[in-house]
């Protein structure tokens, strides 16, 4: 009698855990189905079956079109070049910050990361103000050379695109390689030198093999980010250059849905391959870092007691770092300064700001700026909340150790979810927007409910980052803590409330703010989906880029920079930003 009651109680604990997990899986799968997998299937449908009937016809035509092929090549090439340039600049900088210890080191590394979280339109407007035709660099050059020749042209040139990509992604290389350098046990290097191996050979045989995977995985990330670049190429490409992402948008804009969908399929395949490769390498590099206690010996940044050769090389390094900091900050500072420079002498320096906080509509915007601000903040808040809920669910399904410790194996549901979330990582924002449009624009309420799809696209784009933030925190929890807690009598709910939640709280805060920041600046999907009243600040700024005065757009951009910087400050206060997906 007693035994049967107890058996029930065991089942109850197991059931309550199973119930929570099943509910999570159902919620996750319904979300992914509705806002991701149905749109993706719709894209494949549109690509592979056209009105004329014959299945692969449009797909093959799109694929073999010389124009498309040329720009598929260009997309790959510019991504490759951007990645190589990021590596050339980022690797020495990463090594510098891993090796030298000095006051403000962490602050500088954090500041160098700001470009990564900036909305793409900010990069665009910053580049226009800094390097554009009438930008400060060119003005300065013209003053120095006393000519009307420009130093750099970013409009419609490859160099503009690549420069912007390097600006954007440099921090990925820097931040992700610093821990790899730091992880190298200095004693290994010492042992190597006592074995009579020279410095170069030690680097080649001991140091490099240990940082290799971190370098490859960060490069693959930069490649993915630049391969899917949209806003920058759309604007700076100036109809001379297109990435696949821009081509997909152009097809959509011309209502050539089958062609756009076909291109999206190609892009999705390439992205998936790179992401899978990335996941494999990332896993390897994580294994490499496991279980290491000692790290690289750091050196105080000082000239004292050094020979002239070291002094020169150190000075050059510092100069190089300084240039990169300048490069990473010039556009941001330029925007803020520009926002206070009056259109004509005598005007108020605050004119731009006064304009954006009035109810009146500024041409050529589709709606007033207050509405833009409202939309942006509202979308970002809702997207952050939904992303957090879904990410916590994902982490719980993926790391349901509470259950798996009893079985010593990964459950099928866990594997299912872990595969289901890879594809969203490999999907670009334009593809996402296109899929949502193709699936739901037929609904009669679509145009009034488009904000739902905008928010959901933001959720899908930020989920990999949010999940990552929480996962990092969750992985630090010792499974024995949960064992001890349950043997002390704590129920599943109590274990979550008292142990798991407090220990991942910071990860949740970081993830939430990060999601907010991503939504704040998201461009591609919003640009494709948004209609008049549902536009965001990013879209507004983009629409103003061509106008005569930049004072209004730089003022809007400055506010956006301020909010983004605040988010970034908070993220750093509570934890660390996750650049990885």
């Amino acid at each position: 009698m007693h035994r049967s009651i107890q058996k029930k109680s065991r089942n109850f604990e197991g059931l309550s855990n199973k119930f929570i997990i099943s509910l999570s899986i159902i919620a996750l799968i319904s979300f992914l189905l509705a806002f991701f997998y149905i749109p993706i299937v719709r894209i494949f449908q549109t690509a592979l079956s056209s009105d004329s009937g014959s299945g692969f016809k449009v797909f093959w035509e799109t694929l073999s079109d010389p124009f498309n092929l040329k720009f598929l090549g260009f997309t790959l090439l510019q991504a490759f070049l951007s990645t190589v340039l990021c590596l050339l600049i980022g690797l020495p900088i990463g090594y510098f910050f891993a090796k030298y210890e000095f006051k403000g080191r962490k602050l500088i590394v954090n500041l160098l990361t700001i470009p990564f979280v900036l909305p793409p339109v900010i990069v665009l407007i910053g580049f226009t103000v800094t390097y554009g035709q009438g930008g400060w660099v060119n003005l300065l050059w013209q003053n120095i050379t006393n000519s009307s020749n420009v130093l750099i042209t970013i409009d419609g040139t490859v160099q503009g695109i690549i420069l912007a990509h390097v600006f954007y992604n440099l921090s990925v290389i820097i931040r992700l390689t610093i821990p790899a350098w730091q992880n190298i046990d200095n004693e290994q290097i010492e042992v190597s030198s006592t074995l009579g191996v020279g410095k170069g050979k030690t680097f080649q045989k001991i140091v490099f093999p240990q940082v290799k995977n971190a370098i490859i995985s960060s490069s693959l990330l930069v490649f993915i980010y630049t391969f899917n670049s949209f806003a920058i190429v759309m604007k700076l490409g100036n109809f001379n250059f297109y990435t696949l992402e821009v081509l997909i948008y152009e097809s959509f804009d011309l209502l050539k849905f089958s062609e756009g969908a076909s291109l999206a399929v190609i892009q999705l395949v390439i992205n998936s391959l790179v992401i899978i490769l990335y996941l494999v390498v990332e896993r390897k590099s994580r294994k490499m870092a496991e279980g290491k206690e000692k790290g690289l010996k750091t050196e105080r940044l000082s000239f004292r007691g050094k020979d002239w050769k070291s002094i020169v090389s150190l000075s050059l390094s510092i100069f190089f770092v300084f240039i990169v900091i300048l490069f990473s900050f010039a556009p941001i500072i330029a925007i803020i300064v520009k926002s206070f420079i009056p259109k004509s002498p005598g005007d108020s320096p605050f004119w731009g700001y006064s304009q954006i906080f009035t109810q009146q509509k500024i041409t050529p915007l589709n709606t007033n700026t207050i509405r833009l601000f409202g939309n942006t903040l509202l979308f970002a808040t809702v997207a952050a909340v939904i992303s957090l809920i879904l990410s916590v669910l994902i982490v719980f399904v993926l790391r349901n150790r509470y259950q798996s410790i009893k079985k010593y194996q990964r459950s099928a549901s866990e594997s299912l979810v872990s595969y289901l979330i890879i594809l969203p990582m490999a999907t670009s924002s334009i593809t996402l927007g296109l899929g949502l449009y193709l699936s739901y624009s037929g609904l009669s309420s679509y145009y009034n409910s488009v904000w739902i799809f905008i928010i959901m696209s933001h959720v899908l784009i930020s989920i990999p980052f949010v999940t990552r933030s929480i996962l990092v925190a969750y992985n630090r929890i010792d499974v024995e803590l949960l064992n001890v807690a349950s043997s002390l009598g704590a129920s599943r709910v109590m274990v979550f409330r008292k142990i798991e939640f407090p220990l991942i709280k910071r990860g949740i805060i970081v993830g939430g703010i990060f999601s907010f920041a991503i939504s704040l600046g998201e461009f591609g999907a919003t640009f494709l989906l948004a209609r008049a009243n549902y536009e965001t600040l990013s879209i507004g700024i983009y629409n103003l880029l061509g106008s005569q005065t930049l004072q209004i757009s730089t003022a809007m951009a400055s506010v956006l920079i301020l909010i983004t910087a605040l988010c970034f400050y908070l993220i750093n206060k509570f934890g660390d930003i996750e650049l990885k997906v």
Binding site: H2, R3, Q6, V484, I499, P502
Partner: protein, 356 residues
């Protein structure tokens, strides 16, 4: 405070049976040390008893109650894992009250319990600190207090001394012994270190191949190890495995790594090893013609002074590479002036050779 009985328990890990038809009885109130090599399934066994892992087969009985299907929550087992996992975000006091809250004790009861267990485990001064602010030994005492506070039926300790530095081990071991006797909680203590079992156990159970191979007091096991391996695990000196055994004309020829040994009687049972206690050797300085003795020649490797009169010497055996004896002797026998590398002749009476 229960009597524990484990019946034909089995568990697989990666398709291999690591616990195989396992039987064990723990007497009410005793401290039983489970001794076995790393990876022999000791930790898994603890987790099964705690209810964290489900066994393939078998039953666990507390007193007369079958608790095999109980949840960890319902078993009321104090589980102290190997690494001292304290809840890092809670102060010591909160760590201890965690289990009491889970058992829905009132505030006053919780306070009372904490005072009681803090005194027994001597952690009164630590209650207000975070786990990151206390030492390894202190953490272990807190982990112990946390497990004991719920007044568990059974206390499970997984290598509690493994992460404590050498100087603190003995005192912590004795503290554990004292606390266990004061609270009278039936305790299963898992370790791979036989020294610990000598220090604190009421009984010791030796485990390998997924089963308990011998159980008894340390003295019993030392005196009559069931086989060579057990003698080895118990850390006995001068034990060797038997490679083969032949009997002829009332004599037995025993082949061992230290050579072929002739014993003047017939061995009728299966033996797995021999042992020669260190005190059974006699150092001989003049060649003797006595033919009943077993003779070894070796070189002194090191001399350890036990006190003014008595020494233990380690002797390298001349004819058997890598084998050595430990020999107890006094000043006179050692012949002052003996030093490392000196050649020695050792005699042992056949009657002194213990068969395992």
């Amino acid at each position: 405070m229960v009597k524990v009985k484990i019946n034909n328990l089995s568990m697989k890990y990666e398709k291999k049976l690591i616990i195989d038809d396992f039987e064990l009885e723990i007497i009410d109130g005793e401290l039983l040390v489970l001794l076995g090599a790393s990876g022999c399934g000791k930790t898994s066994l603890l987790k099964i008893i705690a209810g964290i892992i489900e066994p393939e087969e078998g039953t666990i009985i507390f007193d007369e109650k079958d608790i095999t299907n109980y949840t960890p929550q319902k078993r009321k087992v104090g589980y102290v894992p190997q690494a001292q996992v304290l809840f890092p975000h809670m102060k010591v006091e909160q760590n201890i009250s965690f289990g009491l809250e889970a058992h829905k004790l009132s505030k006053d009861e919780i306070k009372e319990r904490i005072t009681w267990i803090a005194e027994i485990t001597q952690i009164q001064d630590l209650l207000d600190r975070f786990p990151s602010e206390i030492s390894g030994g202190q953490k272990q005492r807190v982990a112990l207090a946390r497990a004991l506070a719920i007044k568990p039926n059974l206390l499970l300790l997984d290598e509690p001394l493994s992460s404590i530095d050498a100087s603190g081990r003995e005192s912590l071991a004795l503290t554990i012994r004292r606390i266990q006797k004061e609270t009278g909680i039936t305790t299963l203590y898992v370790t791979h270190n036989q020294e610990e079992s000598r220090l604190i156990s009421d009984r010791v159970a030796l485990m390998y191949d997924g089963k308990i191979q011998q159980i008894g007091s340390v003295i019993e096991v030392d005196r009559t190890p069931r086989n060579y391996l057990i003698a080895k695990i118990m850390g006995s000196s001068n034990v060797w495995p038997v490679e083969y055994l032949e009997t002829e004309n009332g004599n037995s020829l025993v082949s061992t790594p230290i050579g072929l040994i002739t014993l003047p009687y017939e061995i009728k049972r299966k033996i797995t090893g021999i042992r020669i206690p260190p005190s059974s050797f006699k150092i001989v300085y003049e060649p003797s013609e006595e033919d009943k003795v077993i003779e070894f020649i070796g070189r002194i490797k090191s001399i350890i002074e036990k006190d003014d009169e008595n020494f233990r010497i380690v002797v390298d055996l001349k004819d058997a590479h890598l084998e050595y004896f430990k020999v107890d002797c006094n000043k006179e026998m050692l012949n002052i002036g003996s030093a490392a590398n000196k050649e020695l002749q050792l005699h042992v009476l056949p009657s002194e050779v213990i068969l395992i």
